[in-house]
């Protein structure tokens, strides 16, 4: 048991969480006293909060090695540092993109920002969880904030329906997670993930596998892997696009950490068993995600199914069960978040007041109406399809390499075939934008400079990091050891 005496210096590594908790309270108070008089001020403050938070994280949470705090409930390591910075960046970009959208739909309220910050806190708790208890609290904190965000537009019946589905299915997944955790806790006698890893290194019994099954189901649900993916298209489609942008990006970092900490670290003793469980889930996600996406006419649904197929790829990294595999999964997660920020960002920028650009046909002839937006979208679609030199290619390649090293030939073949199938619907969007005529006069896209500049940088990053993949690849390999 670590020393229970704490001083300010010893908890320095936990600065991101402590700061964010304080910031949530400040933003809430600011909204109560100032927000009503100056709509939009809370949003600016929140962006400032995120920038300061990233700076504080760089200053305090950049630890050289694993630091376990708060009696084994909290862990700070280089992986947590990288994921937290990515979390700050993803949420800041999300809020930047969605501002005009929120204003147009009359849901620009301070609570929206408070809930985004609390969801980010939940993500951080997941990233730094070192105990079953903290894992669960992180999952709930994130989920609760996100449920409310999905239902935020109260005029929309579809959003309310999506939130209800998400809530009910999410509650079932939480129940699964708790059930699995209670079995594992009962058999190992500890909540601490390091302790569980030690207890499971000894010969274990079937009971652990029973508990593991529930945990795998819960993790698969949270990530949206087939057959636990039913909620995902409905929620992505029903939620306001700004919320879709939010739940499609930052939470993935948290759920990646959830899988890594729970399965790859805590339950490392039964890696053989959970890789065998994840393999069919990954294959099903690839097949269902890519094939069903072809049939979609709604771009948000199409991107939801594409998410499912990307989740399949991330899971394949875990199936490899090696350090290389986890590194590849981390790389894929970061790349996916970068791409998702881009393509949901385009959907937001193409929407105007009273017009939701959520049908594929709304993108017909986008090139003529807005060449820059079309170019950004085309780059993102090429990247998601895995065309070199874009970054998505390297992400897929790393996963396939990790699988090749571990002799998973069938999985390699499936992954490659399904990438080719997936390329069809990504390239169809490019075809619609560049070679089709717009059927009717559609409203103009958002023209404000700042947001367009951010989106341009986002799309450029997909290309630049694809041409120079080494720094990010090295980083991912270094933080997972």
């Amino acid at each position: 048991m670590p020393d229970t005496m704490m001083n300010l210096h010893s908890i320095a590594a936990a600065v991101p969480e402590i700061y964010l908790t304080a910031a949530i309270c400040i933003v809430l108070l600011f909204e109560a006293f100032v927000g009503a008089k100056r709509p939009g001020a809370t949003g600016t403050l929140t962006l400032l909060v995120l920038v300061v938070g990233a700076a504080l994280t760089v200053a305090y949470a950049d630890v050289a090695q694993r630091v376990v705090l708060f009696d084994g409930t909290y862990v700070a390591d280089p992986l947590a540092y990288v994921l937290k910075l990515a979390g700050f960046l993803a949420v800041a970009v999300t809020l930047l993109y969605s501002r005009a959208y929120l204003q147009n739909r009359d849901i620009l309220k301070g609570e929206y920002y408070v809930l985004s910050l609390s969801a980010l806190l939940g993500i951080f708790v997941l990233i730094s969880a070192d105990s079953l208890l903290t894992v669960y609290l992180g999952v709930e904190l994130l989920a609760l904030s996100v449920y409310a965000m999905v239902a935020f537009d109260r005029e929309s019946g579809v959003a309310a329906e999506a939130a209800m589905k998400y809530f009910v299915l999410g509650a079932i997944a939480s129940g699964m997670l708790l059930y699995g955790m209670s079995i594992v806790y009962g058999l190992t006698g500890t909540l601490n993930l390091d302790g569980i890893a030690v207890a499971l290194s000894a010969p274990h019994n079937l009971g652990v596998i029973l508990g593991l099954t529930f945990i795998v189901v819960a993790v698969a649900f949270k990530l949206g892997a087939v057959p636990f993916h039913m909620w995902l298209p409905d929620v992505y489609d029903g939620a306001p696009t700004s919320v879709t942008l939010f739940i499609g990006t930052a939470p993935k970092l948290g759920y990646f950490a959830l899988a890594l900490r729970l399965l790859a670290h805590g339950l490392a003793g039964v890696t053989v068993d959970w890789t065998a469980m994840l393999a069919p889930l990954a294959v099903l996600s690839l097949v269902v995600g890519n094939v069903v996406a072809i049939a979609q006419t709604n771009i948000k649904r199409m991107l939801a199914y594409s998410t499912i197929s990307h989740v399949g790829f991330i899971l394949l990294g875990f199936v490899a069960g090696t350090v290389n595999g986890y590194g590849a999964a981390l790389y894929y997660t970061l790349v996916y978040v970068l791409m998702a920020l881009g393509f949901f960002g385009v959907v937001i920028l193409a929407s105007r007041k009273g017009f939701e650009a959520d049908k594929l046909e709304h993108y017909k002839g986008l090139y003529r109406r807005d060449p820059l937006l079309a170019l950004a979208m085309a780059m993102l679609m090429f990247s998601a399809a895995g065309v070199p030199p874009f970054i998505g290619f390297w992400a897929k390649l790393r996963i396939i390499q990790a699988l090749w090293e571990t002799q998973h030939l069938w999985l390699v073949v499936t992954a490659v075939v399904m990438s080719v199938v997936g390329a069809f619907y990504y390239l169809r969007v490019v075809k619609l934008m560049y070679f089709d005529e717009a059927p009717e006069s559609l409203p103009d896209t958002v023209r404000s400079f700042g947001v367009r500049f951010a989106l341009g940088v986002n799309a450029a990053a997909v290309l630049v990091l694809g041409i120079l993949p080494a720094p990010l690849l090295d980083l991912c390999a270094r933080v997972i050891r």
């Binding site: 708060f70 309220k109 609570e111 809930l115 609760l144 409310a148 058999l187 019994n205 009971g207 029973l210």
Partner: protein, 201 residues
């Protein structure tokens, strides 16, 4: 020995109550069965000398949460026939899943026992000056300080979410504005109308 007998009595009642929750046709009965289950689990906690938890369970769950539940169930006009539609159609799937799960759990325990977990230890009685509340407080604010704080944040988020989703200021809402009522003047409300006297015909 007496404690063991009591445990089995309460455990049986608890399981029976839990079955009642999911089989009762009337939702109000379901809620009452749930109350019954909670009281029985509180009794089991008393047997392991976790008095504080037992009292909290009765006070918070039975006293507050379930009463609220009961209100909600009684106030909502739930059409049961509509909900039950299609229920029996998928009931076989539920039965198969439940039976498979029970079979799996039984098989695991049958073949492996509980894997070194000492379940035959029975109930340990603590010394007379043992205070459950004190012991809980000791670990809650030291070893579990971080999860404890997180739980507090979770509650704040729940409040923010609930208010953000339910508090509406739409036009035409019939609410009392007290300060407006107090500040009212006679001339705002009262209009003196001069009516010319009619001549009697």
């Amino acid at each position: 020995m007496l404690v063991e007998i009591l445990f089995y009595i309460f455990a049986t009642l608890l399981v029976a109550g839990a079955l009642g929750v999911i089989t009762a046709r009337n939702p109000v009965y379901s809620v009452l069965f749930l109350v019954f289950s909670f009281v029985n689990s509180a009794a089991i906690w008393l047997l392991v000398e976790a008095e504080f938890l037992a009292i909290v369970l009765v006070l918070v769950y039975v006293g507050a949460v379930m009463v609220l539940f009961l209100f909600v169930v009684m106030m909502l006009d739930i059409n049961l026939a509509e909900i039950r539609q299609g229920f029996t159609r998928f009931a076989w799937l539920g039965w198969i899943t439940a039976l498979a799960l029970i079979a799996e759990i039984t098989a695991v325990i049958w073949r492996n026992g509980l894997g070194g977990l000492d379940v035959g230890r029975g109930f340990v009685s603590e010394p007379a000056n043992y205070s459950n509340t004190l012991e809980l407080g000791r670990v809650l604010y030291t070893h579990y300080a971080y999860p404890f704080e997180l739980a507090a944040v979770l509650l704040v988020v729940a409040i923010v979410a609930a208010i953000a989703l339910t508090l509406r200021r739409r036009p035409g809402l019939k609410v009392q504005d007290i300060s407006h009522q107090v500040a009212v003047r006679a001339e705002d409300r009262l209009r003196v109308v001069k009516v010319a006297a009619e001549k009697r015909s």
